[in-house]
């Protein structure tokens, strides 16, 4: 009885948006209010389910919870058929991301009120399909199913970018699609080889089987997976698509892209990179830490040089995601926890910044710094929210960004003091460009006459940002409950890494971390 109900939860969360999309497809084209209402209602229901899922989640356990498992089809394999399952489940690595996705969606739907003024019906359909796609990626526990959702989640954003984007939208959409697809097609070769060699597509079963592969096989499959995820994140040399996509996307697309879509890459790196191939991940960790740290600094400099506010925030994403990548490949408990938490933090603070930029763009139709200045005196409420989001993004203590960055730097310092120090400079540069951005936008005299007549934020705009603001504060003040939800699964992954770690380097790490956390887990039980 209980099992049946729990099966329903994840299925409902993932496919209710799809149902809503189908319903909207049958509404008359002109009934825009109905379409918006339906999308908002359904995304609120899903958000409610997502929060309920979060509350009911047991963070101490490493096993997947609320598992749905239905046989799908058989692939021909070496030793008989390989059953492919429709298998969903949530664990410590995905729980925060799943909840964030569901919570972000009503916010995004509400934010479209002004800037989506044509083809509303199609937009809502793509938005809801995107939610299904993203949730499917985070919840899949079967390799083939994951690959399905991974590829399919591309299409909605491609359309959102290409139809409702800015001036160079077609270029940005194509670039986004081809970059990601190039990675995922190479990942397909990795998937094929992995499935063929192990005879399984079940993620839990695969965890035990990958150690049976030869070292070079592990390295190559890891490489094909990691490349695909690195493009999605994006890790440094692959970051050029992101700035274009963000700049051209409509506000709602940017929020989702920064908020959750990029996290598919970092999530994949943890679950499929480190989780499946601990030995290869350990070998590659210096490379990824270096790429992460360089990305932090490089992204900050990129952002510094921008004259377009939105592009600035987009480049800051490269910098922030550098922290996430660096932290997880430190392969320490602090680093990885910080990394998982920072995924959420980045989603919240960058999401807020994109929302705010969208709001001012709707009023002035420009994102050029030269056109602004002194906005704080005209739009005080806007200024308040902007400063808050900016500080959250900078990592001011008592706001969410601080917790994640602190944990990541702590974890990285244990693994590699050098890259941790490089990363710290990134925080300073981050403060520089974000404060500069705030000064040029909000303070000083009003230089452009058009800015004098700007209206301040209205009730809808304030209310849609409030949930994110509350979460930023909450995570900043009391991060422990959030971190504890992720503890069990992260420790399980680290145990697998420690099992393949050469003994001499294990001495460098604080030996207390695994034991301490497992005793925590015991207490909760």
């Amino acid at each position: 009885m209980d099992g049946r109900r729990s099966e329903l939860v994840l299925t409902a969360i993932t496919f209710l948006p799809l149902v809503a999309a189908i319903l909207i497809a049958f509404t008359p084209k002109k009934a825009e209010a109905l379409q918006r209402g339906l999308a908002l209602l359904m995304s609120l229901i899903v958000a409610g389910l997502g929060i309920a899922l979060y509350i009911g989640f047991d963070g101490a356990s490493a096993a997947a919870q609320q598992v749905v498992d239905v046989a799908w089809f058989n692939l021909p394999g070496k030793n008989g058929d390989i059953p492919v399952h429709f298998k969903f489940g949530v664990d410590g690595i995905s729980i925060l991301l799943v909840t964030l996705t569901t919570v972000l969606m009503p916010v995004v739907v509400l934010s479209t009120k002004v800037h989506i003024d044509k083809r509303v019906k199609e937009f809502m359909i793509w938005l809801l399909l995107m939610e299904t796609g993203i949730l499917g990626v985070f919840l899949s526990l079967d390799l083939i199913l994951f690959y399905f959702f991974w590829e399919l989640s591309l299409i909605p954003l491609y359309f959102i970018l290409g139809i409702w984007g800015g001036e160079r939208r077609l270029y940005a959409a194509m670039k986004f699609f081809l970059y990601t697809v190039a990675g995922s097609l190479l990942m397909m070769l990795g998937v094929i080889w992995l499935v063929w060699q192990t005879g399984s597509t079940d993620l839990v079963a695969l965890m035990d089987m990958t150690s049976g592969l030869t070292a070079s096989e592990q390295t190559w499959i890891f490489a094909s997976f990691a490349l695909s995820f690195a493009i999605k994140v994006p890790v440094l040399p692959f970051h050029t698509w992101l700035a274009d996509a963000h700049t051209e996307a409509p506000t709602s697309g940017s929020v989702l892209l920064a908020g959750v879509l990029l996290k598919m890459g970092t999530y994949g790196l943890i679950r499929f990179g480190i989780g499946l191939f601990p030995a290869a991940a350990l070998a590659a960790s210096p490379v990824f830490m270096a790429l992460g740290a360089i990305g932090i600094v490089y992204g900050a400099f990129l952002a510094w040089a921008q004259t377009d506010i939105k592009r600035l925030v987009a480049c800051s994403s490269v910098s922030h995601l550098g922290f996430v990548v660096m932290g997880m490949f430190a392969l320490t408990a602090e680093g990885m926890r910080g990394s998982v938490l920072q995924m959420i933090n980045h989603g919240l603070s960058t999401g807020l910044l994109f929302l705010l930029i969208g709001m001012i763009y709707e009023r002035r139709h420009t994102r050029d710094f030269e056109q602004y200045g002194g906005i704080a005196s005209v739009m005080p409420v806007f200024a308040l929210f902007f400063v808050f989001s900016m500080l959250s993004s900078v990592g001011l203590p008592s706001l969410n960004g601080f917790v994640g960055e602190y944990l990541i730097l702590l974890g990285t310092f244990n693994a590699s003091p050098l890259w941790a120090m490089v990363g710290v400079t990134g925080i300073i540069f981050g403060a520089v460009y974000l404060l500069m951005c705030t000064r040029r936008l909000l303070f000083g005299p009003v230089t452009v006459a058009a800015n004098n007549k700007l209206e301040d934020l209205n009730g809808r705009e304030i209310s849609l940002m409030l949930p994110l603001v509350v979460l930023c504060l909450w995570i900043g003040v009391a991060p422990t409950p959030f971190i504890n939800k992720t503890a069990g699964s992260i420790d399980a992954i680290l145990e697998r890494v420690d099992a393949v770690r050469p003994t001499q380097s294990a001495g460098l790490l604080p030996a207390s971390t695994p034991t301490q956390t497992s005793s925590e887990g015991a207490e909760v039980r």
Partner: protein, 484 residues
């Protein structure tokens, strides 16, 4: 006659029940041809032609299904094999003919009085394809090949008032005749070297003499011409573009499948050292097809190039089968699945062009598809699904086709070739996405009327294609268990 060549005994043996069962699908199509001819001649029976056409294809599919359940082995005194593979190929040919026929309804205008020829020639071609896929000796195959090709030459120039159509037919005929000559000459050389033309006999004697290898090379060239593999692909874009679109539907799906069916059968004739050349040819074909398609402004021509690229992918399977996939039978399975997905996808995609052309010739231009997404969402949606399937996107049949192909190549240790192939399919997505982008993301051209969507037969065919493309993408297990 083939039986005579095969068996030294000059007597005609009575047909066994296996012969009847295995030959039933071909008999159905033959009966269809005769009935359609009669219906055309007898006064008052004209509409019966359509019934004859549809009924014969449906009956053929049913008999092929029976063979799938109970394979008859080699029949007609060792000249034809009615096994699972040939039955499955046969089903694909029937669908290919059926879809081409559905798309040809209301397509022709000036040629309407001659439509009976069109239908009958198409049935002849289907019969030829069946003969090719099941042939167990080289001459049986040749008869099938000519039975396929000669009707297609005339079908290609079926729109006789149009220059391009006549040119396409002539071009196809000249090159096709050349290929047929190559094939016959190759067969003759092999016969001289080994004294047999049956595949079983060739398998026994082996082909080590340089004479027989030359024969194999000539025969393979003829097959490569039919499947349009580099360097024998030059005719494809022109012929595909010039032919009436329903005929292109048929050519792109049926002909290609039939030639590949036989190619998979005669791979064993090729020396193992040919694997390297085959890989290079496959990659070159994919490169030429995909890069050529990238710069096309005409949708029909673009799909012609894309069909060349797909032939390259299939040649990868041929190569992996030559090198030796550790899972015996997997390359054939991969080729069948890939081709099954391709038949429905390409038939749908070319068929959509046929539909659009019905509302004005200019609709084959990519530019004229602008704004189709808002004006005809269902039409544009179907075409988008076909494009994604051609690009091998998940949830479409094209994905599993690609998945099985690359599984086979990776197992045969063709890692570098697989990576190159995958990277070239990223290029392919570049132009498939351009079609989607033009339809959904660019505003319609001012003053250009939207295409009319009222074409019942073509709509039905499109629905059928969409259904199979999605079914092959969502439930591969269902098809694998029953058919492959």
């Amino acid at each position: 006659m083939m039986a005579l060549l095969n068996n030294s005994a000059m007597e005609f043996q009575a047909l066994t029940s296996a012969d009847w069962n295995g030959g039933a699908p071909m008999l159905c199509v033959t009966a269809g041809i005769i009935l359609a001819l009669l219906a055309e001649v007898l006064p008052g029976f004209k509409p019966a032609r359509h019934v004859a056409f549809l009924a014969s294809l449906c009956a053929a599919v049913l008999f092929e299904m029976r063979i799938l359940g109970a394979p008859q082995g080699t029949i007609f005194q060792g000249t034809f094999s009615a096994d699972r593979a040939s039955a499955l190929w046969g089903i694909l040919f029937c669908f290919s003919g059926l879809l081409a026929w559905l798309y040809s309804r209301r397509y022709y205008k000036e040629e309407k009085p001659f439509l009976a020829e069109h239908d009958i020639l198409m049935l002849c071609s289907v019969l030829g394809m069946m003969l090719m896929a099941g042939a167990e000796d080289l001459l049986t195959f040749f008869v099938g090949l000519e039975l396929l090709s000669v009707p297609l030459y005339s079908l290609a120039c079926f729109r006789r008032v149009r220059m391009e159509s006549v040119e396409a037919g002539l071009r196809y005929f000249l090159l096709g005749a050349f290929a047929a000559g190559l094939f016959l000459f190759g067969t003759a050389l092999m016969y001289v070297a080994t004294g047999t033309i049956s595949l079983a006999g060739l398998r026994e004697t082996g082909l080590d003499s340089s004479l027989s290898l030359l024969g194999v090379a000539l025969m393979a060239s003829a097959l490569f011409f039919k499947v349009s593999v580099f360097p024998f692909q030059f005719w494809v874009p022109d012929v595909y573009q010039g032919s009436p679109t329903p005929v292109t539907v048929f050519m792109a799906t049926g002909t290609k499948a039939a030639a590949f069916a036989f190619l998979m059968k005669v791979v064993f004739l090729l020396p193992a050292s040919a694997a390297g050349i085959l890989s290079i040819m496959a990659i070159a074909t994919m490169a030429i097809g995909n890069l050529g398609a990238l710069i096309q402004e005409d949708l029909k021509r673009m799909l012609g190039y894309s069909s060349v690229a797909h032939a390259g992918t299939l040649l990868l399977v041929v190569t992996s089968s030559l090198i030796g996939d550790p899972q015996a039978g997997a390359p054939l399975q991969a080729a069948l699945y890939y081709m099954a997905a391709y038949v429905f996808t390409a038939a749908g995609a070319f068929g959509m062009i046929a539909m659009l052309e019905g509302s004005g010739e200019h609709f084959t231009k990519l530019e004229s598809l602008r704004g189709l997404g808002t004006r005809r969402p269902l039409l544009a949606g179907a075409l988008s699904i076909f494009m994604l399937s051609l690009g091998g996107f998940p949830a479409t049949g094209g994905f599993f086709g690609k998945y099985f192909v690359f599984t086979s190549t990776l197992r045969a240790d063709m890692t570098v070739v697989s990576v190159l192939g995958v990277l070239l399919s990223v290029v392919a997505l570049g132009y498939y996405l351009r079609v989607i982008m033009t339809m959904w993301m660019r505003p319609p051209v001012e003053g250009q009327a939207a295409p009319s969507a009222y074409r019942p037969a073509a709509n039905f065919a499109t629905g059928l294609c969409v259904f199979f493309v999605l079914a092959l993408g969502f439930a591969p297990g269902w098809f694998l268990e029953r058919f492959f």
